[in-house]
C-alpha cells in the first residue's frame, strides 16, 4: 500500500520504538501532524516553545539509553530549536530532530517561514539531511537514528519539505543500514590495552578521570569494577557525575573549575592519568601549559579520535567504545599475574587524604538566612539521593553538582558543554515522561527558570509532577560572582529586578507554589513537596544573595591555583 511521506515519517518513528515526540506544529509540518493524529503509538508532547521541545527530547535521551525525538516546523520553528540542538551536540546526546521545510519548488525563493535549515544547523549537528524525494524518507530516518546512537552520539536533523511529506510511495522500513563512509570504532587493539595496564600497574600516583562518555556508553559498572580492583582514586567531570558512585570511598569528587581540592590536586600531581570518555576541556584542566608543567603519563580512552590530543597531548590513546575498552582492560587485569600493589600507592592515598582534610566544600551555614548549599544537602536527604536531578546553568548548577551525591548514572541531567540557561525545566519534563514513577527535581535559579518558564503550562497539560527547586538570590549569581572577583564589584546588569511572585505564577499555571524563607523551613517544605506525588510543586527558596561557589579555579589558571572559601 502506498503511504504519504508524512505517514511514512510516523511509521518510521514507530519502527524505531519512539515513545514520545516533543514538538510544536506549524505550516510546513501539517501533513506530519495529520499523520500523528491518526495513530496512538507515538505520543506527542506539545511544548510551548520549540527550544523546550528539543531540551525535553534531550532530557528523555539522557535519562534513558534511547534516542530523543523532536518535531518542529520550518523557519522560526527551526531557529528556536537551534539552542536545544547545539546543547545536545555539545554533550553528545543522541537525538533525531524532524523539521518541516517549505515545498521543494519554493526553496530558495525566500518563501514564508523559509530558512536554510541544513545550513543553519550544520555546525551543531552530528549530521543533517534534506529529503528531496519521498522514496528517501524511510532510508534517511533509518540512517538518522543509526547515526544519532552509534559512535559518539549526537543530534541528527532530517528536514522534510511540505510537498515531499504529501507525496505517496510504497513503504518498507530498511532492516539494516550501511553508510560506507562511517565506521565508528568499537574494539581497540589488545596491544594498547596491555600497555595501558602495564602503565597503570606501575603507577605510584595514579588518577582515574571519567567523563560523560562513561554515562553515554553505559559503562559505569565496568568503570566501578576497574577502579575498585585497582584501588585508585577516581574523579568525575560535571558530565560524568553518577558514572562512578559519589559515596564510594575512592571517589574524590568532581574536578575542574569548581571541583574539589583533592580532585584537582590529584589531577595535577598524578604520575599516571587514565582519562575515560572525557575531553580535557577548558573548564576541567584550566590552563593547559600549567597542567603540562607536571610530568605524567596519560592514557585516554575515547570513542572519538578527534577528542584525543586535542588540548592535552596523550601518551597512550585508546580509541573505542568506553564500555568495550574497560571490559577488555578488566579481562586483561583478571588474567594478569601482576596485581595492583596497594603498598606502592599508599603514600599517594595519604597525600590525597591530607588534601581532603582541607574540606574544600565546607560552607558557613546560618540560622537566619537560607544557604543554597544547605538546600541541596536537604534535597539529597529528602530524596534519599535517588532522584533524577536536572539543572539550569549558573551557581545553582555547581552547588547541585557538588552537594548532591549521585551514585547512579543518568540521574544528573545538565547542560555541561553549551551551558544553556533554560534547559532544566523542559529537560525535567522529558525525564519525568521517561520515568513516570520516579522523583524528578529541577534545580534552578530565578534567572534560568524564566528562560523557559512557559513550560509550566506543558507540565499542567501532561500532569508532570516535577519539583522545581529554585534558589532565588535575586542575582544572576555566577555572573555576579565573576563581577565580584574580576570586575571590581561592578554588578553590571546581574541584579534580577522586578521578579514575578513565583508562588502566584505557579498557581496561575495550576500548580502548587511555595516560598521558603527560613533555614528551619527548608526540610519540612521539601518533605511536603515530595509527598505531593501528583502535583508539580514550585519551590521558591529565598537564599543568601552573597554566597559564592567554592572552590574556584579561575579561567586561565592552573588546577593547583585554586581559591578556597577560607582564602577570602
Amino acid at each position: 500500500m502506498e503511504l504519504t511521506g508524512a505517514e511514512i515519517t510516523i511509521r518510521c518513528l514507530q519502527e524505531e520504538g519512539a515513545e514520545y515526540v516533543f514538538g510544536y506544529p506549524g505550516g510546513a509540518v501539517l501533513h506530519i501532524y495529520d499523520a500523528l493524529f491518526t495513530q496512538d503509538q507515538v505520543k506527542h508532547i506539545l511544548v510551548r516553545h520549540e527550544q523546550a521541545a528539543v531540551h525535553a527530547a534531550d532530557g528523555y535521551a539522557r535519562s534513558t539509553d534511547k534516542v530523543g525525538v523532536a518535531l518542529v516546523t520550518s523557519g522560526p520553528g527551526v531557529t528556536n530549536a537551534v539552542t536545544g540542538i547545539a546543547t545536545a551536540y555539545m554533550d553528545s546526546i543522541p537525538m533525531v530532530i524532524i523539521s518541516g521545510q517549505v515545498p521543494t519548488y519554493a526553496i530558495g525563493e525566500d518563501a514564508f517561514q523559509e530558512v536554510d535549515t541544513v545550513g543553519i544547523t550544520r555546525p551543531c549537528v552530528k549530521h543533517n539531511f534534506l529529503v528531496k524525494d519521498v522514496k528517501e524518507i524511510a532510508n534517511t530516518i533509518k540512517k538518522a537514528f543509526y547515526l544519532a546512537k552509534s559512535g559518539r552520539p549526537g543530534p541528527v536533523l532530517v528536514d522534510i519539505p511540505k510537498d515531499i511529506s504529501n507525496q505517496k510511495t510504497e513503504f518498507s522500513y530498511p532492516s539494516s543500514v550501511n553508510i560506507r563512509s562511517y565506521h565508528p570504532a568499537q574494539h581497540s587493539c589488545m596491544e594498547q590495552i596491555k600497555s595501558a595496564l602495564q602503565l597503570l600497574l606501575a603507577a605510584k600516583r595514579p588518577m582515574i578521570y571519567a567523563g560523560g562518555g562513561v554515562i553515554l556508553a553505559d559503562a559505569s559498572k565496568q568503570l566501578t569494577e576497574l577502579v575498585h580492583l585497582l584501588g585508585f582514586p577516581c574523579t568525575n567531570t560535571l558530565m560524568g557525575l553518577g558514572g562512578y558512585p559519589a559515596t564510594d570511598k575512592q571517589f574524590v569528587g568532581m574536578l575542574g573549575m569548581h571541583g574539589t581540592y583533592e580532585a584537582n590536586m590529584g589531577m595535577q600531581y598524578c604520575d599516571v592519568l587514565l582519562a575515560v570518555g572525557a575531553r580535557f576541556d577548558d573548564r576541567v584542566v584550566g590552563n593547559v601549559k600549567h597542567f603540562n608543567q607536571e610530568k605524567r603519563k596519560i592514557i585516554h580512552i575515547d570513542i572519538d579520535p578527534s577528542s584525543i590530543s586535542k588540548r592535552v597531548k596523550v601518551d597512550l590513546p585508546i580509541v573505542g567504545d568506553v564500555a568495550h575498552v574497560l571490559g577488555d582492560l578488566l579481562a586483561e587485569l583478571h588474567g594478569s599475574k601482576e596485581k595492583p600493589d596497594q603498598q606502592a600507592i599508599a603514600p599517594w592515598w595519604a597525600q590525597i587524604k591530607e588534601w581532603r582534610c582541607k574540606n574544600s566544600l565546607v560552607y558557613k551555614n546560618s540560622d537566619e538566612i537560607i544557604k543554597p548549599q544547605f538546600v541541596i544537602e536537604k534535597l539529597y536527604e529528602v530524596t534519599q539521593g535517588d532522584a533524577f536531578i536536572t539543572s539550569d546553568v549558573g551557581q545553582h548548577q555547581m552547588w547541585a553538582a557538588q552537594y548532591y551525591k549521585f551514585d547512579k548514572p543518568r540521574r544528573w541531567i545538565n547542560s555541561g558543554g553549551l551551558g544553556t540557561m533554560g534547559f532544566g525545566l523542559p529537560a525535567a519534563m522529558g525525564v519525568q515522561l521517561a520515568h513516570p514513577n520516579e522523583q524528578v527535581a529541577c534545580v534552578t535559579g530565578e534567572g534560568s527558570i524564566q528562560m523557559c518558564i512557559q513550560e509550566l503550562s506543558t507540565c499542567k497539560q501532561f500532569q508532570l509532577p516535577l519539583k522545581i527547586i529554585m534558589l532565588n538570590n535575586r542575582y544572576l549569581g555566577m555572573v555576579r560572582q565573576w563581577q565580584q572577583f574580576f570586575h571590581g564589584n561592578r554588578y553590571a546588569e546581574s541584579y534580577m529586578d522586578a521578579l514575578p511572585d513565583f508562588v502566584k505564577l505557579a498557581e496561575a499555571y495550576g500548580h502548587v507554589g511555595m516560598r521558603i524563607e527560613k533555614p528551619s523551613d527548608v526540610e519540612p517544605a521539601l518533605k511536603e513537596a515530595f509527598e505531593r506525588k501528583q502535583q508539580l510543586v514550585f519551590m521558591d527558596f529565598i537564599t543568601d544573595q552573597t554566597e559564592n561557589v567554592f572552590p574556584m579555579v579561575q579561567g586561565g589558571k592552573g588546577l593547583s591555583e585554586v581559591i578556597l572559601a577560607e582564602d577570602l
Binding site: 534534506l130 572519538d304 578527534s306
Partner: protein, 163 residues
C-alpha cells in the same frame, strides 16, 4: 607548516560546505581548495592546501575524518607526492611584446590558448611556485587578469587514495 590534504567524499549537495564550514568554524587556514567529481560519479575528490602546527594538522585530519560524508583522507605531504595547479593569465600583447610573451610562455612550457589583436591568454600548469615564477618573469604591468585553480595533488607510485 604547509600541508596538502586529499580527501574523497560522497558527491552530494552540501558536502563542500561541510568541509569549508569545518575550516571556518574551527579557525583552520585554507590556502586553496579544489573539488571535482571522480571517475566514480558518486565520489568527489578534494585537495585542500592548509598550514598549521603538527597538532593543528592532526586535528584537521581527525575532524575531516569525522565528517559523515568523508570516505577517505590522506595527508599527501606526509610522503612522496605530486602537485599541480592550472593558471590562466591574460596579458596585454602588442608590438614587440607579442614575441617576448610567446618566448616566455614556451620557456615555462605553457601555451597561448586565445589570441586577440591586443591580448594573449596563456595557460600554464605546474606547482604554485612555478606559476608565481612566471608572473614574476613577465612585466607586471602587462597582466590584465589571472585565474588559478588551486593545487590538485596525488601520491607518487603506490600511494593511492581509494575507497
Amino acid at each position: 607548516m604547509r600541508h596538502i590534504i586529499s580527501l574523497l567524499m560522497e558527491n552530494e549537495a552540501g558536502a563542500l560546505s561541510r568541509v569549508s564550514g569545518l575550516f571556518s568554524a574551527r579557525g583552520y587556514n585554507i590556502e586553496s581548495l579544489t573539488v571535482s567529481p571522480t571517475e566514480d560519479a558518486t565520489l568527489s575528490r578534494m585537495t585542500i592546501v592548509t598550514s598549521g602546527s603538527d597538532e593543528v594538522i592532526e586535528q584537521i585530519y581527525k575532524q575531516l575524518n569525522k565528517l559523515i560524508e568523508v570516505v577517505a583522507v590522506m595527508d599527501l605531504s606526509e610522503g612522496e607526492h605530486l602537485e599541480r595547479e592550472l593558471m590562466l593569465v591574460k596579458v596585454r600583447a602588442v608590438g614587440a611584446v607579442r614575441e617576448e610573451m610567446k618566448r616566455m610562455t614556451d620557456i615555462f612550457r605553457g601555451c597561448i590558448i586565445d589570441v586577440s589583436d591586443k591580448t594573449y591568454t596563456i595557460e600554464l600548469t605546474g606547482t604554485g611556485h612555478k606559476l608565481e615564477s612566471f608572473l614574476q618573469a613577465i612585466d607586471r604591468n602587462l597582466i590584465l587578469e589571472t585565474v588559478r585553480t588551486g593545487a590538485s595533488g596525488i601520491g607518487r607510485g603506490d600511494r593511492i587514495l581509494k575507497f
